[in-house]
Symmetry: C2
Subunit: 757 residues, 2 copies
């Protein structure tokens, strides 16, 4: 039975449900040093003296470390080079790490950190996008408080609007979103022999951590090894930020020559780690009478926080996706990521897209309403289909299942029966239905092209079991299971023979980050390539043993046979165990490296035109809600989620991703937000105050799998992991409008918003 396409049990399920899985805080080392972080108590200020006198008095105190103690470079190596591991000269956000304290116990380290006195001369902080881009604002970054700007220019925007019969224009705002992974950030650093350093931890991107640790210690990369421990969720929050923690842990390990441990409490994790960027989106769309989009002008701003981190590429992705999956010949998109004195924002499932998707899908709903067109119909008239082009003039080719997702969701939702205009609804408790359609570029695309490759290392062991190592990580999304399924079928052996080991930078070369829904496609293809190489030695062996040609030899599900003379026609077959024994007897090379380079993309940054991504995934979400018009209480009843991911390698996991992403999208839509006081201090740094959806808030989620295979994907698969979250907020907000006639242009949609006049 083929492994691909089957809902095989997750490789990590048993350990996770029985509590045997070991997260970083479950590990320790003898003689370990515990680290606590001295943080900035202000959003912006000039750093003065740091007084450790009282800290040193704490029993168990080992040492204190500032930027001055860094043997390498005090810069986290990301896109730009502006973020120090430890503040030097200035502090730029509330909670920024200033110094590290090492002690024999976590409690002693924390107490010593508390007793450390930092002299800071406070400066006036910049706390919002509006403030940052106003001309009079203090400049905290560059000449204009802007990290990055992009422009997409297609056709002639003025002519487009001139032709349009209707113009729609509005401004939309989206909030912070906290990743709220189950496991907080944590690292253990262990100094090794010969000036080496190994760092274990919770992370998405071991190769980023590898760069960071090499950099802070001033070590060549071959002296540093990063091993991912079982990771309790990432969602983008463990993309760039773990580099900082790992740098801190490694620094103290290097200086004390002892293993170190640094695991964040939830509060400091919320204060100091990255978030989804707040967004400000101004959209102007011109259509004809049928709702056909003729011109679109979008200004998209992200609040990047104090350092650029991943903002340049988060912004790029959002910019490219700003109009959504719609055909339009005249487009002008301008975007900017601006600096503020708040926690640096970074990656979060969707990576700059949910913000613009909320705006675009809402305005689409507004257009439909104004033009009195069914929102589904409006989409049918505008969506991308093969042969059409995106805002970057990329022609959509194979594997575009958007129409099918729309059709299937429409049917499943019984939209025809359920949808009616909001004016027709008068009950106190009202039902509403809303839709969103989206597309999402798989992989890093033209914006991260040089990183978009992945390796796999496959070793056939003497007992016929196979070890696979990949450069992407398992963080709960099921990567190791899906990759084992791909390995099994591409090699032709049973799923149970495959073990995909924990990601370790010494096993596989830099395979880029585990982000951008790229793992199944990139690491999957690397595995296919490794299996192909291994089969190039296995098939001639089979041929030799069965006295046939390599072309006639076949290996499926661990059974080798001749295609011309198969076992069911009386032909001989060889078990994989016997085959492996002979493979070893002949001393054939039992290992192989697979390598996959993402298909070509090409992009002209000047006018933002070109092939932004090598392929796209597509989705239609239909939300049903019940609104109490007296209290404003919103209940999300149902989400229908129809997704084209090319091929569902493991359908149950696809549904799991849909379940999880949908709930995260519901949270983003109706409850999650972070608030700051007027000085930039974060006010809700705990799960008591940062409200998340629970199972009680979960709608009835109805996944629909649509498979339009992508010929360059493993078994036709594209990427998919982030997509389930992205269209939820506008579908729900549109459903709320459909129920109430109240248009929400600023997330989250809270009861009080519905109560506003």
């Amino acid at each position: 039975m083929p492994a691909v396409g089957s809902s095989l049990p997750r490789k990590d399920a048993w350990d996770k449900v029985t509590g045997k899985a070991k997260y970083i805080d479950d590990y320790s080392y003898p003689n370990i040093v515990h680290i606590s972080t001295v943080r900035s108590p202000v959003a912006y200020g000039k750093l003065g003296e740091i007084d450790f006198t009282e800290a040193k008095k704490i029993p168990g105190f080992i040492g204190h470390y500032t930027y001055n103690d860094i043997p390498g470079k005090n810069i986290n190596p990301l896109v730009y080079t502006d973020q120090p591991f430890l503040a030097n000269g200035y502090v730029r956000f509330y909670g920024e790490p200033i110094a590290l304290i090492a002690a024999e116990t976590p409690e002693a380290a924390e107490e010593a950190a508390r007793r450390t006195k930092v002299q800071i001369t406070p400066l006036e902080p910049v706390l919002s996008i509006d403030q940052a881009i106003s001309e009079s604002c203090t400049k905290i970054y560059s000449q204009d408080n802007t990290f990055t700007r992009y422009k997409i220019e297609k056709g002639a925007i003025d002519k487009g609007f001139a032709k349009a019969r209707h113009i729609f224009e509005n401004t939309y705002e989206t909030p912070y979103q906290e990743h709220a992974y189950l496991e907080t950030q944590g690292m253990i650093a262990v100094p090794g022999i010969e000036d080496t350093m190994t760092v274990y931890g919770s992370m998405q991107c071991p190769f980023y951590v590898h760069d960071a640790v090499s950099q802070i210690l001033g070590l060549s990369k071959n002296k540093v090894k990063i091993v991912q421990a079982t990771t309790g969720g990432g969602f983008g929050g463990k993309e760039d930020f773990p580099s900082i923690l790992a740098g801190h842990a490694a620094l103290v390990a290097k200086l004390t020559e002892r293993p170190t441990k640094l695991v964040y409490h939830r509060e400091e994790d919320i204060i100091a780690s990255s978030k989804r960027h707040p967004g400000l989106i101004k959209i102007k769309i011109g259509t004809d009478d049928d709702g056909k989009i003729l011109a679109a002008k979008i200004d998209y701003y992200l609040d990047g926080g104090a350092y650029s981190t991943l903002s340049p590429i988060v912004l790029w992705r959002g910019t490219v996706h700003a109009l959504g999956p719609y055909v339009c010949d005249n487009v002008l998109i301008n975007s900017a990521a601006v600096a503020t004195n708040k926690v640096p924002c970074g990656a979060y499932r969707g990576f700059g897209s949910p913000q613009v998707i909320f705006a675009a899908e809402t305005i689409l709903d507004e257009i439909a309403h104004e033009l009195k067109i069914d929102p589904i119909d409006l989409r049918r008239r505008n969506i991308l289909t093969p042969g059409t082009t995106t805002v970057t003039s990329q022609e959509i080719g194979e594997s575009c299942g958007l129409t099918e997702t729309l059709d299937k969701a429409f049917e499943k939702a019984n939209w025809k029966t359920k949808w009616s205009r909001p004016e027709t609804k008068t009950d106190k408790i009202r039902k509403g239905i809303g839709v969103s359609t989206i597309y999402y570029g798989v992989g890093l695309g033209a914006g991260g092209k040089h990183l978009d490759r992945a390796g796999a290392n496959m070793v056939l062991l003497r007992d016929g079991s196979v070890q696979c190592a990949v450069g992407n990580t398992e963080m709960g999304q099921g990567a190791r299971t899906v990759l084992a399924q791909i390995a099994a079928d591409s090699l032709g052996i049973p799923y149970n023979n495959i073990h995909v080991i924990e990601t370790d930078t010494s096993l596989v070369p830099d395979s880029g980050p585990t982000v951008a829904s790229r793992t199944t496609l990139m690491s999957g293809n690397a595995i296919v390539s490794a299996a192909k190489d291994l089969r190039s030695r296995i098939m001639p062996l089979i041929a030799d043993l069965l006295q046939t040609t390599a072309d006639d030899a076949e290996l499926i599900d661990g059974k080798a046979f001749s295609k011309k003379n198969p076992p069911d026609k009386g032909g001989k077959s060889i078990t994989f165990e016997d085959l492996t024994r002979e493979f070893y007897n002949r001393r054939l090379m039992p290992s192989s490296f697979g390598w996959f380079i993402a298909p070509d993309t090409g992009f002209d940054q000047k006018n933002g035109q070109g092939n932004a991504y090598f392929t796209y995934s597509y989705c239609t979400n239909i939300a049903e809600v019940t609104v109490d018009t007296e209290t404003g209480e919103i209940k999300v009843d149902t989400i229908i989620a129809a997704h084209d991911m090319g091929k569902a390698i493991n359908p149950q996991q696809v549904e799991g991703q849909i379940q999880g992403g949908t709930l995260q999208g519901v949270g983003y839509c109706v409850m999650e937000e972070i608030r700051h006081d007027k000085n930039g201090k974060m006010l809700n740094d705990a799960f008591a105050t940062y409200i998340l959806p629970t199972f009680e808030d979960a709608p009835d989620i109805q996944p629909i799998i649509v498979e339009h295979p992508y010929s360059s994907g493993p078994f036709g698969a594209k990427g998919f992991g982030e997509v389930p979250l992205m269209g939820i907020a506008p579908a729900v907000a549109n459903a709320v409008f459909n129920a109430t006639g109240k248009r929400i242009r600023k997330l989250p949609v809270k009861p009080e918003c519905l109560m506003e006049k």
Copy 2:
């Protein structure tokens, strides 16, 4: 400057001299379980009940484990399958492991082991070769107490003796030799997620340990990972035996679900771990008047101890080398490894050769003396040279520097002046000089052909540093340094850019054991192959950057240039760092697996004829001694050691190997022995009673490097590590004869032997 051929600093030197290197006992894990071993107090007996009642009362006691608790198979998987991890039914040698005790501290575990009562019905043990092969002896193994027999038959032995003018015949005996590595055996086993097990330890052969741990736990091999810790010496003693310890540690780790530690005290290490086999050699040689060897008949017995372990292959190597490096057309060699109720013997530098070499080189000296031929001249008349054949009828081809080693040693020793017949010497204190010439098959040869392959894994990192992983181990012999030199030159980058990481079974496929002087050649060639593969992507890149052809592109010492237009003629050059940056920009595959299969050997086991090894290393040792004829005191003054190892990759390390091997040979010759009481209990299990040479006993060692390159070796290198020890004993014993006229045919040569009438 090329790295190969330079005495570059050892990669591990700094850590080792400063005490930073971490051996297995320097590691621990939180919540670790300590293991102690309950051992047989008799040499042979029937195992009855084991009573843990008193053991359980010890505070900190965790559990007890016997063969009954093993989830997998209770057999250490080696050549044969006769050795249990834990005794079942019978105990077969004094010190054999019967049960394991787990406790919270090492002391508690040891006390509990002491208090464990084992009921054993003692049986009459077999304690010597003579006893084992006598017909009346109890059979403790098979029908004839013999593990293995071999025969080599070349020409017609009877005709050879018939033609001979002189017949020489004698019996020689060699003792046990304890490896006396600085670090005792030790393992730490750590259970991982998803039913995995990682074992760290002091070992030579991680892949043997991998087999053993999979076997005892009943786990597929892809769930087991073995990592070698810094290893404080092996000399063969950490070839097979670590599998037993690792099995024990992993068993308890599996059953307690906690990390475990098992580090032997010196005494139990001496009692329980393998030794050099005692040998009994009967030689009969026929010569013409000129000393030309016409016929040789050799019977060679090894005392294998209670289990076969590596005896079958130790015996094979000894059998093949039994006559030494001499031409003889008529040969009959019979050999047998017999079973006794003593500790199983195994690998020890030289692997069954030093025993026969002592016999053969002594009888050569006897022939020279009797025929009144200078011992050097006698050798000149008989030694192997290109075009001659060995006892297995293998024709000696390229890379035979034996004559040159003999010439150079002869000259350096000033032999002509120093040598005179013993009858001429009358002083109380007498000087003597002796010689030995030897050859040694590199690698596993025909006897271990299917294991004779090796892999290497090379990764080019983004900063231009390179990580190399190999399947062979560093155990103090300098492998990682030599392999880094080979990697540097075969890639064309500086030595300092290379880091060879600790051997880990998850990094490189099964590369066979680290034995048989095979590492430089096998892993070295695997590295050359990996580098070649990596260069297949680097060279076209250079060509592209310099606008030339790949054939014209060159990379030496980290500098890329065009051969036609080199930098010294004004051509452009590119640094390796720049090259690597571009390599990464283009997303070329930065990793490669190298694989090397040993050149072909072929052997007919029936008559012992064929190509036993793919190449041989050669050596001449000349020893000078001073003997006090009144006390019998022997001082080894000088050893001249001329070695042909093909190419000295690191001359200083070659000299280091010569220094160490020579001293071990001196110990083997003049002091080391193990004694047993009449019941088979070992009497000298401590360094207070097992006498080893110290620096005070070290002669003036004068290495001579002779390089006859082997075209299939990396940069011409063959293997060499074991050779320095092997010819020392006969050279010294022959020098003692030369000083005193007293012929020693049983090692060690002790003062009391010289005093015997």
